[in-house]
Symmetry: C2
Subunit: 548 residues, 2 copies
Amino acid sequence: MQKSPLQIARSNYQPKMPVALQGFVAIKEGEKTQSVADQEEIKKLFPNTYGLPVISLVPGEKKAFPEMNVGVILSGGQAPGGHNVIAGLFDGLKQLNPNNKLYGFLNGPSGLIEGNYLELTSNIIDEYRNTGGFDIIGSGRTKLEETWQFDKGIEACKKLNIKAIVIIGGDDSNTNACVLAEYYQQKNAGIQVIGCPKTIDGDLKNAQIETSFGFDTACKVYSELIGNLQRDANSAKKYWHFIRLMGRSASHIALECALQAQPNICIISEEVEAKEMTLNDIVDQIVKVIVDRADAGLNFGTILIPEGLIEFIPAMRRLIAELNDLLANNEEFNSLESDDEKRQYVKAKLTHESSQLYRDLPKGIARQLTLDRDPHGNVMVSQIETEKLLIEMVAKKLAIMKGEGTYKGKFAALNHFFGYEGRCAIPSNFDADYCYSLGRTASWLIAEGKTGYMAIVQNLTTPANEWQAGGIPITMMMNMEKRAGKMKPVIQKALVDLEGEPFKYFASKRELWADAHTSYIYPGPIQYYGPSEVCDQPTRTLLLEKKR
Amino acid sequence: MQKSPLQIARSNYQPKMPVALQGFVAIKEGEKTQSVADQEEIKKLFPNTYGLPVISLVPGEKKAFPEMNVGVILSGGQAPGGHNVIAGLFDGLKQLNPNNKLYGFLNGPSGLIEGNYLELTSNIIDEYRNTGGFDIIGSGRTKLEETWQFDKGIEACKKLNIKAIVIIGGDDSNTNACVLAEYYQQKNAGIQVIGCPKTIDGDLKNAQIETSFGFDTACKVYSELIGNLQRDANSAKKYWHFIRLMGRSASHIALECALQAQPNICIISEEVEAKEMTLNDIVDQIVKVIVDRADAGLNFGTILIPEGLIEFIPAMRRLIAELNDLLANNEEFNSLESDDEKRQYVKAKLTHESSQLYRDLPKGIARQLTLDRDPHGNVMVSQIETEKLLIEMVAKKLAIMKGEGTYKGKFAALNHFFGYEGRCAIPSNFDADYCYSLGRTASWLIAEGKTGYMAIVQNLTTPANEWQAGGIPITMMMNMEKRAGKMKPVIQKALVDLEGEPFKYFASKRELWADAHTSYIYPGPIQYYGPSEVCDQPTRTLLLEKKR
């Protein structure tokens, strides 16, 4: 297999680790824990894995561990560093006992159910050290939720004599990991389950988990590109770049990129929702900045738009809900022939407010909402090109203002979507180190017989040797939420906290950044070598949250 | 102004230079030159700047130079390294005589005509060393072609006592630089003109110019992203990524990215033209690879598409030409009300072949060809989203094959366009060194009284201290070509040479790369520090052309 010079160089990188993980480890148990809310219900649902203590890993004495086999699963969307979690887990297991074996279940949780696996040998692991992607064993989106799946998992593990499973995933996958842990405890199956916090979206974090892995690298890739576009905008002086950023619901990615690159505008979905803003409010806000800059002779700029925006606009959410109700399996609608008839049909059936909004949307978007639907008849929200929607609406408003003489600039816009480019980038030093440490931590939690825990590493804004590795009971992060009409125990998703330091800093600066005087920062590409301040920095979000 | 850690680190980078430029320089004149073709006409048009000798810069004795002022212009689209040309020019001028001054004409050639300038002091220069973008003085697309413009230029130069102008631009801008040099010689204006080879497109190269600056950095940015998408494709295993790459006409960028990342498919416009391929031929070629990979269970991949493709498909070019003739200022057409009527009108008036092709195009594209037109009534070819056109046509064909049972895979496609992200990236070490050397070279050509020359640096695949700096008469690269109906002297544009080593290597490998066995390379982001093989490599195109 041919490799780039950087691939070759990176394969020799030795991730930095907390002191405790550099030798043998002892376990220090802290206080018993409670779930963040709904303690009674959660306790009832997780009698065996509720209330466990927080665990810290500290330097310990060398000791012998019996042989064991472990399985690992990658769940959900890719995030840079997944391969290093597996490499850390592998090295950790070999440190415990050179005869330990690591099996990778293939293509996500379905690999466990189907007993589809690959033994991960050092040859394979070495191929993937410090690389991006999840291709070592593949990932998948099958949800581990049902008892028959759990039982199939026992079969697969028994066949391979597997003592523990590590599930690398986001909030939902870790919720499921905990349900699985609880089930295996109840059944006395002899299989531990350990989770690892993955997602580029950054929405799996809380008092214990400082950040999910992959967020750092993905944001740095997007910020590189945003910085490049800003330099281009500032040079050509004729384009407004509307940049949509991946991140299914929370706006952490957009916010972090804004902190890194200081664009003229960044929309934060959580703020839109809190202020009950309409699409028109957002358009007005953008138009104001464009007009102000045009008055200063600057007909260019950058605007960051979080992918999930549409669903955070209350009126849009109501419209989409109405459309979903109205059109799913609606034979009357489906029997209509022309697009025009379909639109008329929809307009007549919507509530007054939604009908108005629907009418005001650009044609292409209205079409997407009504005609392009998923197999269940639902609007495919993630495929709506919000950046184009906003360009169209902004252009329309500016044209009116031009006619009225209140806008004298020139408006030319370019649209971008950055997402897939960042999910599988070569992990930054931060993510490479963090993930490798998570993997090693998981191996110790397994060795110590823990289950229903998530591996964590804290103190991440200090140099890696000062990081603190440990484990927290997954139940600790749970509350009860309505999912598909039923109350379920789930890990609380962390949206952007409008009272948190990262947002507050952004809010205090955005008028300055919108202003005539260019405040652009050009982060440049991720560096793996060179001065530490260039190649080892964590995200701005983390630094602000830790006030460093 | 806030800066990223990489910006701060890069501002201290000292570009590497050829030995000759490290001290004082002597000029070595080579053989008299001839234009590449049409020698008689070119000689007649350039009596003062034709037939000059090639110049090499070699180490020389320290000597004193009289004070002088120089002007510099950035012309056309941004390319990484432009700021370093200016920094090299500035440092070179200061080396010649500390009292020398450098003026930047603002916002491109129009700055010269309008006498709009900025004195570039060391404070300003230091802000922009090793940075991307053209924002130090801005760029513009005004063409310096007419006598009144040249005369205004004399006025502006006289006012600032400017002895020489350096024009940093692509093939057209350098052609114009030569016309300007000739005019100023004829007029005895006492103003020299020196060109510098800029363009990310890579189409300004020949026996003397090994590569234009910016091509290296831009291709590395795009290849980083392509590599990331490939890792994602190989992990998620469910998407075909259709990636359109900037590059107005030549396919050098697509080819270089293919050499760096080894995608499953890369279309080269020059080959499409040479083989007189139709749009359907291209679709068939893509479909074949998709079907073969699906048969091997691989329903994912990457396809690179050069931006200029459409105009290299002979039948499409004819259709576009017919549409341009038919619709420009056509009142009958403009008076038609509905889109349907317009389409019918067009279909009836086209030749049989074009009408057929027009009918077969996806609706959205046909619409773009007929309805969205520039102020002159011309089709806006560069705005046609070729990647979406191909996705639509490929999907249609695969659906038919699925019905026939000859295709059993799943096809889901994502589209990307990479362009603006690369034009203003922080220059790679290669471009930073190359550009700085070009700037220093230009200062020596000016000091030695040369005009109508382009600054060049050769031997670029060796370490920078072995590079050879010099100058070539711009007339040497010229031939006569028809432009807007008139024969004009122009620098030959370098398209991808189907007999050249880069294409031949690609052609010898592409079946392997298309194949089931993944050949993806993951170049990763540009590195500025670390091992030389990671951070100082030139493009694969250049290495293959030089057979290293």
